[in-house]
Symmetry: C2
């Protein structure tokens, strides 16, 4: 998996900071998560191919998470898109988009479909042969979901030496990769474990923004490879966080710790603070593996290398 | 009057070009005209005070002219605005905005009001002691209006020498500036013309975007100080202009010539062309006083000096 953060600042777009949007790449498929105003320009700046985005997940209907959606949908049309586009988001999002398309008399040439969410329980909202996406119901001022993206079990790796040793025909290789055993001509059954190694461990990504400190999410996101958790405030503004149903850096780190995730990425910073490194410093008093999200930062989950110049 | 162009490119926002939005300053009041996606960031970049914008005029409901409006309305709220905001735009704009405010549960703290337009005849939509604003019905794929901003007659200038000569008390000065005569103690009436000079000629600004070549606007915009007319295409794409109900540079210049305006400013350029100077070159084959609009350009109408580095 590879995560590119297009925007991760709270509230309004500013000259040098963007509201929430990020692109998750899983086995060459792109998933767009949230779509604040200016997301389409951020996609261009980060050289992400518009045509590879087929599914967009919107956490909630506060403007800094979806005001860029109608513009992106329209731009897809202007770019001549023909592939289906599917939007997942809170009930109401369909009405907002369709009303604007109707009044602007600009119906897209491609098929636009919606899955509207209303459940307060975690549910599977998308699944194919590679990935499964579940909602993570969050606690915020309006109905909000995070999203958990889980890779499915990867194929096993062929044990080339063993396969050659048993002189197994190539036509069995796919079966072995999928975990099957092989029966030789003499009737001997060779167990899969003898012919293959474990494939790479499946990765998972939990996006949790916006939310108050909310322990109910822990069982859903437990053991995730990467957790992106909002931290609008520092602990010094804990009262404000409580009032606005946002989290502090310490709270985000506590969730990471209790859920036993491998890596925490922070974001959704209030612009009131002088430097975002303050969030990392506070979080690391609770949980060690913290990275700072930032506009334009990208993370490869194998190495969790931050590619920009932070 | 002073015009600041925040964005003047057609269709989608891009890394270095912005969709339509401009700010017209008339006697220290700011009028925002159109509000494409990213307008609030352009306002910041151009150091325009958000709090001075109290009236927003939307030409039509194509995305590149209004997708930034909901974000700006929301940002006004986040910035703690309390002053009324009035939106003028096509029927339907109120429903679009209110639906999003309702679903995001983010009703502004300030009073938000709408004048929805549906007439195909030019009408006065705003008037105060300084300015009068009329619609300019345009010809486009959806219901569209341009806007004509006309300063009211300016005060006359006091003839200081004459006033001193007649020993006229300062309490008459305002009356003289407003065009009144003065009766001296001996009963002699001094005509206003003896005591004052003409004030500066009232200026006017006609915004016409988007529109096909449409001669019906000529009587409305006749003799305007400045006409901003769209020129999405060059004459080489005249067929495309006709089909999409846009104008070429030559057509924009023809309207300027026939309407006898003092100055033409071009904008709403398709990004297909290598350089925007092509639009100016084509327009000047018809009409001499042409300036190129560009994102960040500002124009003082007294001097029509372009302040950016074009």
């Amino acid at each position: 998996m590879k995560l590119t953060i297009l925007g991760c600042y709270a509230a309004t777009p500013r000259t040098f900071t963007n509201p929430t949007a990020q692109v998750l790449e899983i086995k060459n498929k792109l998933f767009l998560i949230d779509c604040g105003e200016g997301t389409q320009v951020q996609l261009r700046k980060n050289k992400i191919k518009f045509s590879k985005i087929n599914r967009i997940f919107i956490s909630h209907l506060h403007g800094d998470h979806f005001f860029g959606l109608i513009g992106l949908i329209s731009t897809f049309s202007l770019l001549g898109r023909t592939t289906n586009l599917h939007i997942y988001g809170p009930k109401g999002i369909k009405e907002i988009i369709l009303l604007q398309l109707k009044l602007s008399n600009s119906w897209p040439n491609y098929e636009l479909s919606f899955t509207e969410l209303a459940s307060k329980e975690s549910e599977i909202i998308f699944e194919d042969d590679k990935v499964i996406v579940r909602t993570i119901p969050l606690k915020h001022r309006v109905y909000t979901n995070g999203f958990l993206f889980q890779e499915k079990e990867n194929d096993r790796k062929l044990n080339v030496a063993a396969v050659e040793n048993y002189k197994i025909d190539t036509c069995y290789f796919l079966k072995i990769k999928k975990g099957g055993s092989v029966t030789l001509e003499n009737g001997t059954v060779i167990a899969n474990e003898e012919l293959s190694f474990d494939g790479p461990a499946p990765q998972s990504y939990a996006f949790c923004s916006d939310t108050a400190y909310f322990e109910a999410i822990i069982p859903i996101i437990a053991n995730a490879t990467v957790l992106y958790h909002e931290t609008t405030f520092l602990q010094s503004e804990a009262e404000l966080a409580k009032k606005t149903l946002h989290s502090t850096a310490k709270e985000a780190a506590t969730i990471a710790l209790k859920a036993n995730v491998k890596q925490l990425i922070l974001g959704h910073y209030s612009t009131r603070y002088e430097r975002i490194s303050l969030f990392k410093e506070e979080a690391q008093t609770i949980f060690e593996n913290v990275k700072l999200g930032d506009d334009g930062a990208s993370f490869e989950f194998d190495s969790l290398i931050l590619k920009n110049n932070q």
